[in-house]
């Protein structure tokens, strides 16, 4: 009976987490747009605009490209599914979501890779030039960002002795002096570059461009309209929310709920929202200050991230 109640409360905590990220992701995107607008001297759209866009899209007609196959309607479902499951198993609000014992950071990394691959296939499906271009560029960036991501994650795992997410957070909570160590800071730098690449922000990609030849990510989903576009946008926004809050929680895990009481969960939600918002504002300010890089300058940026993550591992080994 106790086990049932335990897993029931765990299940509720996980559901809460998913809903928070589902609503919070679009709000984060709106927040970043607002910060950019203010920094550029404009008023900008309200923060809830992406949520309104989603509602508008749900009411629109479903359209499929003429030569598309079953992959086109399937891909948004895969993107949503990988985002939701990744959010469900990550410790964001509470340290033990439903599958916490098997919440491995490598699972998250590969789930997100699956989502990207699904989006790329969706780009190739209608048989257009823009879709192929977006798919090719996005997969190239993903392939070059992967080494930095994995090595940075391994740097964190070496220091904590496990790649299990709750384990990493627990060891960081137990050793607060690690947070300012060179290994963690370098891993943070590398992860920030990777997160900017994975979420398609300036300087890697401009999310608000309308010129097809400058698009990387938007070109893949060019053929989506109506409810399917809403699904894709929501999945992407949840990815943004997940990545930002994961970065925040890996490096500053304080405030996360360790019990499943309502008060702890509420506090955990507020704290993680604040931390994620902080990361989002930081990324938005980086966006304002930089210009979008040419496609063939991106390997430099991603190689730099890779070197930082190798440095993180070596300094971690040296300072062991």
């Amino acid at each position: 009976m106790i086990a049932n109640v335990d897993s029931l409360s765990q299940g509720l905590a996980t559901l809460l987490q998913v809903i928070v990220v589902a609503l919070g992701g679009p709000l984060l995107v709106g927040l970043m747009a607002k910060v950019k607008a203010r920094a550029e001297g404009r008023v900008g759209a309200p923060i809830s605009q992406p949520l309104r866009d989603l509602r508008k899209l749900l009411a629109k007609e479903r359209l499929h490209a003429r030569h598309a196959s079953v992959v086109l309607p399937l891909a948004p479902m895969v993107i949503m599914a990988t985002s939701v499951v990744a959010v469900a198993i990550t410790p964001l609000v509470s340290t033990h979501p439903l599958l916490g014992s098997s919440a491995d950071i490598l699972v998250i990394v590969y789930l997100l890779l699956t989502g990207s691959a699904a989006a790329a296939l969706a780009g190739l499906d209608p048989g257009t030039a823009f879709g192929g271009m977006g798919a090719s560029r996005a997969m190239t960036i993903g392939a070059l960002a992967e080494p930095a991501l994995l090595v940075a994650v391994i740097a964190l795992s070496i220091q904590s002795g496990t790649s299990n997410l709750p384990g990493i957070m627990a060891s960081t909570l137990a050793n607060p002096q690690w947070v300012l160590g060179p290994s963690r800071l370098l891993a943070l730098g590398a992860l920030l570059i990777v997160v900017i690449a994975e979420t398609g922000r300036i300087p890697v990609d401009n999310p608000s461009t309308h010129l097809e030849l400058t698009m990387v990510h938007e070109a893949m989903i060019l053929e989506y309209a109506g409810p399917e576009l809403a699904l894709v946008s929501l999945g992407e926004a949840m990815r943004v929310g997940l990545l930002f809050s994961l970065v925040a929680n890996l490096f500053l895990p304080w405030g996360i709920a360790t019990h499943d009481t309502a008060l702890a969960l509420a506090l955990g939600t507020v704290v993680v929202a604040l931390k994620t918002a902080f990361v989002a504002v930081a990324v938005a300010l980086i966006e304002v200050r930089s210009a979008k890089l040419r496609l063939f300058r991106l390997p430099e940026l991603l190689a730099g991230g890779f070197v930082m993550s190798v440095l993180a591992v070596v300094t971690g080994l040296v300072t062991r």
């Binding site: 599914a81 599958l99 490598l106 699972v107 030039a129 994995l150 591992v313």
Partner: protein, 666 residues
């Protein structure tokens, strides 16, 4: 053991049937007998893995002087598991595939002989038995490459490269094994095992290096891999599937058997060398797979990539065991073995799928395919799941193997020996890089090959292939899904195979359950729960779509920047898809481009036609092997000067040689 011998006899009978029966029943008859043999071998292998014992058999009838010895322990059984399963699928596939040259007597009997050798090689337990089955395997596959006479030049060149390199490899293996008998040991593996500790460390290292060269070449490790991208595409598809899934695994088996079992582990630097070979192979193979436009060549390079990962696991396990990290060593070797079986299944399925595509469209060139998902849905499903497995999508088998390998490397970082730590770091970097590049390669092959519009008439007129071919491909998809969703089912058998390789009474750090759990080291995954979650969310999303929006979608023209009528020529091709990566890694790939301009007769300022060619050749072949071959040919021409035609000179050679021998011996 009797059942295993029965399996071998059945495959032999299948070969005879293939040589004997008339055309109408030849293929079906040999396929039936061959499949029965593979099935029995599979059952015996499973039984050995569950029971954990060793079966032996010896006869002096088949091979004179030395006799034939077979021994089936859990390690051998694991590899037989892989080869018999793919053999079963290949026999089934053959029923629908074998037409024309492939259905001839020689092709069918050689095919069954090849399957027979793939089951027998892991069971060999003496030097002569191993060499017998090894050479038979090489010979049968070599002759099978020459089956399809419509591709004369490429097939002949491929066969030449393959033959030369496999023979050199076999000689190297034989020499290494014979070094291990120095000092008067017998030639059975049991004798070698007990004798090896009395060899000097130098002799042991020498033997290992020789053996490693031969087995690594067969496994396709860079830089000894040059034959693989030539030979695997040229063979008929079921043969390619067997070569890429089972034959390369034999190379890995040899390294583990000789290094860990017969030589009892040896020194750490052996295994560091193996791991470094793996790192280079993984990166090189993944990079070339990304830039290949020939579908089968892409799959061949991807085999090199995955074998690189397997060698990283084997090398890490050996190095960690020598440094005392037994738990992490066990995990690393288990990961390598799991990847071997997973690779056998998904690479076999991919090659069979490529064969189906070639049969249906008449081409292997990705730049000429497209839109096949509409006409060939089953093939598309098989290729999609297998490609997902190789890209390490969670809940598929590739992810289980890669996760386990990363766990082994991660826990290996705790070791105190610095070279081993560097090997772990390089292994992680290799895994990361190849993961991304493999994703690009397989999104390219599935997306360009199956999605979009058809780029040629062959692709437009494609039809789904025969039922037997479809069934065979679906059979090979089952392990990809099963090992992905419930890898814990095989944990007990995997642990027995690993313990039999690493030797000793080590308790396995892998625990029972449906997922993979490493409770003592810390780490676990539960793919079954993940699958449930993913399917649930997808169902919810579908429901949302159906209720909140209309049920049917309207078909419209795709966005062409304001211009209508997208033709198939406007799509991205496989070359264009990989072009950014080709540019980023241009220093490693060294693509060659050619521009040929034909001017108008009247004036050099006007061009009549312009031809541009950009090709990526294997750098090691172009800059490593070809100069070596050219130098050898020059040496041969110089040596030909000895032959000036005079009979007196030739007789004098013989006389001088006789005198020299008498002087030296006397």
């Amino acid at each position: 053991m009797g059942w295993f011998l029965a399996a071998l006899v059945l495959c032999g009978a299948a070969a005879l049937v293939g040589a004997g029966l008339p055309r109408r029943v030849r293929v079906a008859g040999s396929a039936l007998l061959g499949a029965a043999g593979c099935l029995i071998a599979l059952a015996v292998a499973l039984r050995t893995l569950i029971a954990g014992d060793t079966l032996t058999w010896h006869t002096t009838q088949i091979l004179p002087f030395t006799g034939l010895s077979l021994s089936l322990d859990p390690l051998a059984a694991w590899f037989i598991l892989a080869s018999s399963f793919v053999g079963l699928a290949a026999c089934l596939y053959n029923v629908g595939y074998a037409k024309g040259a492939m259905a001839s007597r020689s092709a069918q009997s050689l095919f069954m002989v090849f399957v027979l050798t793939l089951i027998a090689v892991p069971a060999a337990s003496s030097i002569m038995s191993l060499m017998f089955w090894w050479e038979l395997m090489a010979l049968s596959s070599l002759l099978l490459i020459l089956t399809d006479q419509s591709r004369h030049r490429e097939a002949r060149s491929a066969a030449l490269w393959y033959g030369a390199m496999t023979q050199i490899g076999a000689a190297s293996i034989l020499m290494g094994l014979l070094v291990m008998t120095s000092g008067g040991a017998g030639q059975s593996f049991a004798d070698l095992r007990s004798h090896s500790s009395s060899l000097s460390p130098l002799a042991q290292s020498f033997a290992f290096v020789l053996v490693l060269l031969g087995f690594a070449s067969k496994a396709g490790a860079v830089p000894l891999h040059v034959w693989l991208p030539k030979a695997h595409p040229e063979a008929p598809s079921p043969v390619s599937a067997l070569m890429s899934s089972a034959m390369v695994a034999m190379g890995v088996y040899g390294i583990i058997r000789v290094g860990e079992d017969l030589l009892h582990g040896g020194t750490p630097w052996w295994w560091i060398a193996v791991a470094l070979l793996g790192v280079v192979s993984a990166f090189y193979g993944a990079l070339h797979a990304t830039t290949s436009t020939d579908l089968k060549r892409l799959l061949a390079y991807s085999t090199i990539d995955i074998i690189g990962l397997v060698l990283i696991g084997v090398g890490a396990a050996g190095a960690l065991k020598d440094n005392g990290q037994l738990g992490a060593a066990h995990v690393a070797l288990s990961a390598a073995l799991l990847l071997v079986v997973a690779h056998a299944a998904f690479k076999g399925a991919l090659f069979l799928g490529a064969g189906a595509i070639e049969r249906a469209t008449g081409t292997r060139n990705l730049d000429l395919l497209g839109g096949l998902i509409h006409a060939m849905p089953v093939t598309a499903l098989v290729v999609a799941i297998s490609a997902g497995s190789i890209m390490a999508v969670p809940t598929l088998s590739g992810f289980s193997g890669e996760w386990l390998l990363l766990q082994g490397l991660l826990h290996g970082f705790a070791t105190t020996s610095t070279p081993t730590v560097i090997v772990m770091l390089l292994g992680v970097i290799a895994l990361a890089l190849t993961g991304g590049l493999t994703a690009v390669a397989f999104v390219k092959s599935f997306g360009i090959g199956f999605l979009g519009q058809a780029r040629s008439s062959g692709a437009r007129d494609a039809r789904e292939v025969a039922v037997s071919m479809r069934l065979a491909m679906l059979l090979l998809v089952v392990p990809s899904v099963a090992l992905g969703v419930a890898p814990g089912l095989l944990v007990a058998m995997l642990s027995r195979a690993t313990t039999s390789a690493l030797g000793g009474k080590l308790a396995s750090p892998l625990d029972a359950g449906t997922g993979l759990v490493l409770s003592r080291l810390g780490g676990a995954i539960a793919p079954a729960a993940l699958l449930v979650g993913l399917v649930a969310v997808m169902a919810l999303a579908w429901l949302l779509n159906q209720t909140l929006a209309q049920r049917r979608a309207r078909r419209v023209e795709a966005w062409g920047c304001g211009r209508d009528l997208q033709t198939s020529r406007m799509q991205y091709t496989a070359t264009s898809f990989a072009e950014p990566l080709q540019r980023v890694f241009a220093d490693v790939l060294r693509p060659q481009s050619d521009v040929e301009v034909t001017h108008v007769a009247e004036s050099r300022y006007y061009e009549q036609s312009l031809m541009y060619e950009n090709r990526v050749v294997d750098v090691l072949e172009a800059r490593g092997y070809r100069p070596l071959i050219a130098a050898a040919q020059r040496l041969g021409r110089v040596a030909r000067g000895l032959q000036n035609g005079s009979i007196h000179r030739y007789l004098a050679f013989g006389f001088v040689a006789l005198v020299v021998i008498l002087v030296v011996v006397g």
